[in-house]
């Protein structure tokens, strides 16, 4: 089910400098959302900024009928999001992650705000009794989100920062040792494109499948404008096509994407 609705904001929290958590009352969306799906959120009640912003579903609470969004204040639109009593949202949109069979060995890699959709996945995994290894990467400690909550779900967390202010000093892909990767059944990730490209290369080498959540600039969010193009493979090795992140994704199989 897809909806457009004016949802009451029931809670807003400034969780770290530059990062907000917003909870809205939207029972139908809370009940029908899958991890990896997103909402298309109207940021302004004027014509500027004009477009909606895609924001992932971070958690749902079916009992209370709420959905929460975790977002980085990136520019004008996201800066306005915490101003309202009500948010006009469309969703749930897109195709989410497919959960692994029970007892699979799973790695979840989040780059910065990439944890937003992955946290919902981690919740589902622990509901299913699965335990995942979670690697969080960020530029510095101030951009590492949700570590405590992930531990509380029963998953184990390792951290890498570019400046060494927390955990391993370097890139999150550097802590993906060949031995560890080759023993995995599935890798889930969301983060900056260069990180995902590097990770795609690593898992391809070890023949491990991956589900990658991509970002692209959007217009409609429903497959009508064809703006959110992402280069993907067809059956032929020489050929490619443009898929659309809003309807074919945002979650793609790593092997399907042309990483350039």
């Amino acid at each position: 089910m897809k909806l457009m609705t004016a949802a009451k904001v029931t809670n807003r929290k400034h969780i770290m400098p530059g990062y907000n958590l917003l909870r809205v009352h939207a029972p139908d969306i809370a009940h029908s959302s899958q991890p990896g799906q997103f909402l298309h959120v109207l940021c302004s009640d004027t014509l500027d900024p004009l477009l909606r912003r895609p924001i992932s579903i971070h958690t749902v609470d079916k009992d209370r009928g709420t959905v929460s969004l975790l977002y980085r204040v990136a520019g004008r639109g996201t800066a306005m999001l915490s101003d309202y009593e009500q948010l006009n949202i469309m969703g749930p949109l897109g195709n989410g992650f497919t959960l692994p069979p029970a007892n699979s060995k799973v790695l979840v890699v989040a780059g910065g705000i990439g944890i937003a959709p992955l946290y919902f996945l981690l919740q589902k995994l622990s509901e299913n009794g699965s335990v995942a290894d979670v690697f969080l990467g960020a530029s510095s400690a101030g951009h590492l989100l949700r570590i405590k909550d992930i531990n509380e779900l029963g998953h184990s967390v390792q951290v890498a920062t570019d400046d060494g202010s927390s955990g391993y000093h370097g890139r999150v892909t550097d802590i993906c040792s060949p031995d560890f990767i080759s023993g995995l059944d599935m890798v889930y990730t969301c983060g900056p494109r260069p990180m995902m490209r590097a990770l795609a290369k690593i898992i391809k080498k070890h023949n491990v499948p991956g589900q990658f959540s991509l970002e692209e600039r959007m217009g409609c969010g429903v497959g009508a404008c064809l703006a959110c193009a992402c280069k993907t493979r067809t059956g032929h090795p020489e050929e490619f096509t443009y898929s659309h992140v809003c309807v074919d994704g945002p979650v793609f199989s790593a092997s399907e994407v042309v990483w350039e």
Partner: protein, 305 residues
């Protein structure tokens, strides 16, 4: 809906139950929005630009927000006319509204071949796009030259019995001349305006932002230009006009109608409010009631009187 108010218009021989349709490329093939509104309540449905062969479109980014507008460079990504005729149009029959197919080509012959394939299809009308700024060949190259635009119009007319609407580009010195030229070539109606050629540079990467460098500007930012274009062309030709460019609400739509548009198309506004079309239909009716009019046709070109 009130029975004492007439919202119906006849636009280039197409009977529309109200004057509101969708702008090509902003509403997919309609089905994408079927969750959000009842498509059968639209006056007509204008679908994505269709070409003879499938097109991949341009590399991303394909869209950029600008003040009160957007720049797009989709590059006419579409499945090709055969899929549209064989698979998509038959599915749209269930909505019982006129479907207008927007077409593009690299050469006048391409346009002719596409028109011929549509002639026997469920399409009610062909909208000839001679104004796409986002493809290297064809598109705007025809629309910016009155003789070339007339040539494409003649070829399309020769290949179909469907009504033919020509979609004009604002990226020309004199839109009226192009309009007159396609009118003489047999066009049954005009659609205006397509997007305005524009671009944006990222000052941090020091490179153009769009994958295709330049793109087409649409949305509220272009509305005054579009209203002016409709006004000028209405004065100098006798063809019915589908007016568009930045329409977000009934007041905007009424401006176009008063400037001379028989019907209006909603484009970029669908992205912000998927129900913009139906909200506008309602708003037009309310305006008529409030101002003592019984028929929307009474307002067409009203600002000229």
């Amino acid at each position: 809906m009130r029975t004492d108010i007439n919202l119906g218009v006849n636009c280039a021989g197409i009977k529309m139950k109200n004057p509101v349709t969708t702008a090509s490329g902003t509403f997919g093939f309609g089905e994408e929005y079927a969750h959000y509104l009842d498509l059968s309540s639209l006056g007509a449905l204008v679908v994505k630009g269709t070409t003879l062969h499938p097109r991949k479109g341009n590399p991303p980014p394909r869209i950029i927000e600008t003040p009160c507008g957007i720049l797009n460079a989709i590059g006419l990504q579409n499945p090709g006319v055969d899929i549209v005729v064989d698979e998509i149009l038959p599915r749209l029959q269930q909505f019982s509204i006129p479907v207008i197919v927007n077409i593009s080509g690299d050469t006048p012959d391409d346009y002719g071949l596409v028109a011929k394939k549509l002639d026997q299809s469920y399409a009610a009308c062909i909208e000839v796009n001679v104004s796409c700024p986002n493809v290297r060949k064809g598109g705007m190259q025809f629309g910016s030259d009155p003789a070339a635009a007339a040539e494409v119009t003649r070829v399309v007319k020769a290949n179909t019995n469907l009504p033919v609407i020509v979609k004009l580009s604002p990226n020309v010195t004199d839109m009226v001349r192009v309009a007159q030229s396609v009118a003489e070539a047999g066009a049954d109606g005009l659609a205006m305006i397509n997007t305005l050629l524009g671009m944006k540079i990222d000052i941090h990467t020091m490179r153009p932002v769009l994958g295709n460098t330049m793109g087409g500007l649409s949305g509220p930012a272009v509305k005054p230009i579009a209203v002016r274009a409709v006004w000028q062309v209405f004065k100098e030709t006798n063809l019915p006009i589908i007016g568009m460019g930045g329409i977000t609400c009934a007041d905007d739509a009424l401006e176009f109608i008063m400037a001379g548009a028989t019907a209006v198309a909603v484009g970029t506004a669908n992205f912000i409010n998927p129900r913009a079309t139906v909200d506008i239909i309602e708003g037009i009716e309310q305006f008529l009631v409030k101002n003592g009019y019984s028929d929307v046709n009474q307002l067409i070109g009203k600002a000229h009187q």
